[in-house]
């Protein structure tokens, strides 16, 4: 291909990229007619508000569908049998007369019959070919046993006191609270808060934080580029990428598949199964076993009942107080474990292994590191240690009975344990071998290392090993949902604030509050 053609190709591609970029940033530099959307998500210039209301009787249980854009949607429980809708239109035009003329063309559309109702506006028809800024905010009261489905963009969504909730939203915060049944949220480019759900909760989020709390049923999460916090829920199944993940008080199993995420989980009554990368996995108080696999990160596990399987690469593994079999693998990291009461199988490369206060059969393999083992009490189970390019140090508590085989390929074997004397080795060449017994013989203890093998006297178990494995603690589950409609929620008052939620703007807030979206409408 000639240089001319390559140059032409690059020139056209660069031109196209410049045009696309200019289009994306035009709001920031205010290119375009006044009243157009800017990347800060607000229309600018003078604006005027107008309201329109409507009411419709519905039979129970009702189903409500709401479709909106560029404005907030708030749906709350109201009186039974009736749906009340208030539409607030905010028009960005220089004079009130012009704004009213424009607003009169914007209509509320209610359709459906019986128990099913659909609420939307004709804003797409009105705005076709126009550059006038228009926000449409919907405030709806529904019977408490209503199932609500909302699709909105560029505006906040608030649902409370409903039978079930389904939300699809972008460029606006989503707040779903006090739902008797299931809640499902799909959100992009803003935060999500789901609280007090009697059924299951499912949240899918891109580029926004997610907070889920007090969910009685199972929780399903799919979050990218945002932090996730889950508290006091049923079992959790989560996919998390590029953002931290925190779970506390999970009544059931926890399964997390993460990437570029730090995972912190505490008080899980069931089994914890965590995989992640470029971040750590920290597990505490797990009730039915734990499995953690981290690539390029460390694993920390504490108070695990039912066994632990931990794998870490490019970092180490720390385990404290594990009741059950333990399997640990650390690539390019150290292993530091204490209080393992069900035996352990440990493999480490590029780091030392330290097992303190263990009981049960132990097998340790170390490459490019040393091993230091301190049993919790007299040796009563087999111990096998193989170390390449490192030393082995085994503390021998009083009263141990063991048959010992020790070999140091290039170093020395020594002991300061009473009753265990290492005799001279007559083999030629470097290294040393020793076979002997302590306490008259008993469980096999096999230690092999390239470096030194040392047996050290050791009295009683250390204090840390005497503590029992702590069990997961779950507070009382989700708050009991009210059987009758909540007396207070009405459009005029802000909902009850809670620590997990952000304050909701009042209906009379200035026009620029609801929409915070880095996007413009297509021409």
């Amino acid at each position: 291909m000639s240089a001319r053609k390559i140059g032409m190709l690059l020139l056209l591609l660069a031109f196209g990229a410049s045009v696309e970029t200019a289009w994306q940033v035009r709001g920031d530099v205010r290119i375009g007619p006044e009243g157009c959307r800017v990347m800060g998500g607000r229309f600018y210039g003078p604006s005027y508000s107008f309201e329109q209301t409507a009411e419709r009787a519905v039979s129970s249980p009702a189903r409500l569908e709401v479709r909106n854009a560029f404005g907030g949607v708030r749906v709350a429980a109201g009186a039974p049998g009736t749906v009340r809708v208030k539409l607030r239109k905010v028009v960005f035009l220089p004079t009130e007369e012009k704004a009213k003329g424009f607003a009169d063309r914007v209509e509320l559309r209610l359709s459906g019959e019986g128990s099913s109702l659909s609420v939307t506006t004709n804003r797409d028809d009105v705005r076709r070919g126009e550059d006038t800024g228009l926000e449409t905010h919907l405030e709806i009261e529904v019977p408490p046993d209503t199932a609500v489905s909302v699709r909105n963009e560029h505006g906040q969504v608030d649902l409370s006191g409903l039978a079930s909730a389904e939300v699809e939203s972008s460029f606006g915060e989503v707040d779903v609270t006090r739902i008797a049944g299931d809640a499902r949220v799909e959100s992009k480019h803003d935060d999500v808060a789901v609280e007090d759900v009697g059924g299951s909760a499912s949240v899918s989020s891109r580029h926004g934080a997610v907070a889920v709390s007090d969910v009685r049923g199972a929780v399903t999460l799919d979050v990218e580029h945002g932090h996730t916090a889950a508290r006091r829920t049923g079992s959790i199944e989560a996919k998390q990428s590029h953002g931290g993940f925190q779970a506390e008080a999970v009544a059931g199993d926890l399964v997390v598949r993460g990437s570029h995420s730090e995972v912190d989980a505490a008080d899980v009554t069931g089994r914890a199964d965590v995989e992640t990368s470029f971040g750590h996995a920290k597990l505490a108080r797990i009730g039915a076993g734990a499995r953690a696999r981290v690539e390029h990160g460390r694993v920390e596990a504490e108070d695990v009942t039912g066994g632990l399987a931990a794998t870490a690469s490019h970092d180490g593994v720390t385990a404290r107080h594990v009741d059950g079999a333990v399997e640990i693998e650390a690539q390019n990291g150290a292993v530091d474990a204490s209080g393992l009461s069900g035996g352990a199988r440990v493999r480490a490369q590029g780091g030392d292994v330290s097992l303190d206060g263990f009981s049960g059969a132990v097998t340790v393999e170390v490459d490019r590191g040393s091993a230091r083992l301190t049993p919790r009490a007299a040796i009563a189970s087999p111990i096998t240690v193989e170390v390449h390019n490192g030393d082995v140090d085994l503390r021998v508590p009083d009263g141990s009975r063991a048959t010992i085989e020790a070999e140091s390929r290039r170093g020395d074997v020594r002991s300061d344990v009473a009753g265990l004397t290492v005799s001279d080795d007559d083999r030629p060449g470097p290294g040393r071998q020793f076979r002997g017994s302590i306490g008259g013989g008993g469980e096999p203890v096999k230690l092999r290392a390239d470096g030194d093998v040392a047996f050290g006297a050791y009295g009683s178990a250390s204090a840390i090993t005497d503590r029992a494995v702590a069990k997961p603690s779950i507070e009382a589950g989700a708050r009991t949902l009210e059987a009758t409609p909540s007396p207070s929620p009405s459009p005029a008052t802000a909902p009850t604030a809670s620590p997990a939620r952000r304050p909701t703007p009042s209906p009379d807030a200035p026009a620029e509050a609801p929409s915070e979206a880095p996007r413009t409408e297509a021409p």
């Binding site: 001319r4 053609k5 032409m8 020139l11 056209l12 031109f15 196209g16 045009v19 696309e20 200019a22 289009w23 035009r26 290119i31 375009g32 007619p33 021409p523």
Partner: protein, 67 residues
Amino acid sequence: MSRPAFSPEGVTLGVGLVALGVLWTLSNLGRVEMLPVLRTWWPLSFVVWGALELADLAIRRSSGRQP
């Protein structure tokens, strides 16, 4: 091998500059919004260039058949 009948790149560039000039003039006169139009229609430059390449090829092949 026959030389190209015309330069597809040159014609595309020329036509593109003319179109850009017309658009910009109309925008300065307030008749059109330049950026939305440019953003929608810039891929036409590839279509024009591709069509000119095909036309050039067709012309060369037909002139190559002539004695």
